[in-house]
């Protein structure tokens, strides 16, 4: 929207609309907590039981830490990524499918407000799930968080980035299948190969190089650095990569909204 910011009522409308969308999105995942918050809690508990308690002691230490301590940050990150992504993609595609996205499109709400509102839902659910999984992990091991600020900022930026990913996926999705393709074929493999369960130092040369092309590796490692003070890669590189991806995704989302891709015929 051009040249509108000077009109009376613009700022107020935009703020109230933002609050409305953000609350609507938050309310949505809280209302259906059985589908949104409970499953990651159960799955991640199983990871801790199986990999941490049953198999972990046989594996021995990883990068100088007990195996369960090593996997806790990765497992938390995995749930942040999946939940942030799934929240936005399913909510936005659902709104398109049921056509109630039209309520917002017809209103004077600017595109960036729509985007921020949906991201608020994704980031909120991602972080809340992360918090739930962190609390569960306390039952299995006690970790003293080394750099809380890094831990929180990396979790926030990662949730933001994957919420953006979900938004872009939602824009392009035409049928329900389209919202599970990316999580199944891209997100899950990249997360598993992103050093959640192992240090890339264990990998032979070529595989280690290949792993470095996986952006999720940087997020998992930066987050682990926040927890344990230990990382396979430099922390600044991780921040730079996440921020560059965020900037690209924001620009792409706004461009797609402006063009009305998948929204206007």
């Amino acid at each position: 929207m051009r040249s509108t910011a000077v009109y009376p009522g613009y700022a107020r409308q935009t703020l109230i609309a933002l609050r409305t969308i953000a609350w609507k999105e938050t309310h949505r995942y809280l209302r259906i907590w059985l589908q949104t918050l409970l499953p990651p809690a159960i799955t991640m508990t199983l990871y801790f039981v199986i990999f941490g308690n049953l198999i972990g002691p046989r594996i021995g230490p990883m990068s100088g830490h007990k195996y369960i301590e090593f996997i806790v940050p990765g497992v938390i990150m995995m749930s942040v990524i999946t939940n942030a992504y799934m929240n936005v993609v399913s909510s936005f595609f659902g709104a398109k499918f049921q056509r109630h996205i039209e309520e917002i499109l017809v209103s004077p709400t600017p595109n960036y407000t729509i985007l921020v509102g949906y991201l608020a839902g994704g980031v909120g659910r991602g972080l809340l799930t992360g918090l739930i999984v962190t609390s569960i992990s306390m039952a299995f091991t006690h970790i003293h968080i080394q750099h809380p600020l890094i831990t929180i900022s990396v979790a926030f930026l990662t949730a933001l980035l994957f919420s953006l990913g979900g938004f872009i996926n939602g824009i392009f999705a035409r049928k329900f299948d389209d919202i599970s393709i990316v999580p199944t074929f891209i997100l899950t493999p990249l997360t598993y190969l992103g050093g959640v369960f192992y240090s890339i130092e264990l990998l032979p040369g070529v595989w280690r190089e290949l792993s470095l092309a996986n952006p999720i590796l940087y997020m998992v490692n930066a987050f682990r650095y926040g927890f344990l003070g230990e990382s396979d890669i430099p922390i600044q590189t991780a921040y730079s990569i996440i921020i560059v991806f965020i900037i690209i995704s924001v620009c792409l989302s706004l461009y797609l909204l402006r063009r009305g891709v998948g929204l206007r015929t």
Binding site: Q13, I16, Q98, R99, E103, L105, R264
Partner: protein
């Protein structure tokens, strides 16, 4: 002041359908305007473009002088839309839907609650405010969409077939409601297939066919263009043959009912005089169809429809 102005509006869908061809239309502030046309004529496409859900291929749209391209924020703020198809969240309650809509237009929560109560009460939905929207009946859903469209007090309200599938009683109360908000200052554009509705509500109408406006005038002058009307006469006794009436075209419908066509230069007195000459007693009489409907059908008769009567509508300049 022009509430709406469309100029040279064109829409070519990706499928290749040329849905609108150079549509020009002006609706003045305060009007109750009817948009009529057969299925697939392009009514919803026009409405979709005005409300920015459909991208136009070419042309300009202004809402109260604000261009939807250059000043979308102002144009959208002044517009209320009741779409043809249900498009609310079927998991939300009636009041959530209204309150959210108010939020999208920047209305504070407090004002939103007041307005929700006002419009839901006026449209007979207040007792259903906590019902999940998918549990409403079809007619209630239509009314919910009207309440939703009004919550930000739009100056231009566009309704795309709002009374489709609504029972007669509710339809009439919706008419009264729309008439009232029009009198109170809201400009209304109504697309409908019920010509009785257009005749009763609208002062001006445009008829669109195959993406072009083929008529745009006030209802009275439009009805004056009806050069002939058909009447159905119930008669006393039984007929074996249709009576020959000088100057009138008579077709028997059954043994006690006749269809008679009366041109606008003929009077009903003449018709009754002829019938009296033939000793035909008329028990009751009615228009074969609503007058606007008749005109409409005649206007849309296409040359290809060979066995229909030729269109009896004066050409307009």
């Amino acid at each position: 002041m022009k509430a709406l102005s469309l100029s040279k509006l064109n829409k070519l869908y990706a499928s290749g359908v040329h849905a609108l061809r150079d549509v020009d239309l002006v609706v003045n502030e305060g009007e109750f305007f009817g948009l009529l046309g057969p299925n697939g004529a392009g009514k919803s496409t026009i409405i979709g473009i005005i409300s920015s859900l459909v991208r136009k291929t070419r042309g300009h749209v202004e809402v109260f002088g604000y261009s939807i391209d250059r000043e979308p924020w102002q144009a959208k703020s002044l517009l209320g839309l009741v779409p043809q198809e249900f498009n609310f969240n079927s998991f939300e309650t009636v009041s959530q839907i209204i309150l959210n809509q108010a939020g999208f237009y920047g209305i504070t929560r407090r004002a939103a609650h007041q307005r929700a109560e006002q419009y839901l009460t006026e449209l007979g939905l207040w007792s259903r405010r906590n019902s999940v929207s998918r549990t409403l009946s079809g007619g209630m859903k239509r009314r919910l969409m009207i309440a939703r469209a009004l919550v930000h007090h739009p100056r231009l309200l566009i309704l795309d077939e709002p009374t489709a599938g609504v029972d007669i009683e509710v339809r009439r109360s919706m008419w009264d409601f729309l008439r009232r908000i029009n009198t109170e200052g809201t400009t209304i554009i109504l697309s409908t297939h019920y010509l009785e509705e257009a005749e009763s509500l609208c002062r001006n109408i445009a008829i669109i066919d195959q993406g072009q406006i083929i008529e745009n005038t006030d209802v009275r002058s439009l009805l004056r263009k009806l050069t002939a009307q058909s009447f159905l006469l119930d008669i006393d006794g039984r007929l074996t043959d249709a009576p020959e009436l000088r100057d009138f075209h008579v077709v028997p419908v059954d043994e006690s009912c006749l269809e008679v066509e009366v041109r606008s230069d003929q009077s009903l007195n003449e018709l009754f005089a002829r019938l009296a000459e033939r000793n035909v007693q008329v028990v009751s009489m009615k228009n074969k169809s609503n007058r606007l409907e008749e005109l409409f059908i005649r206007m849309l008769e296409r040359p290809s429809a060979t066995h229909r009567k030729p269109a009896q509508v004066e050409k307009t300049a």
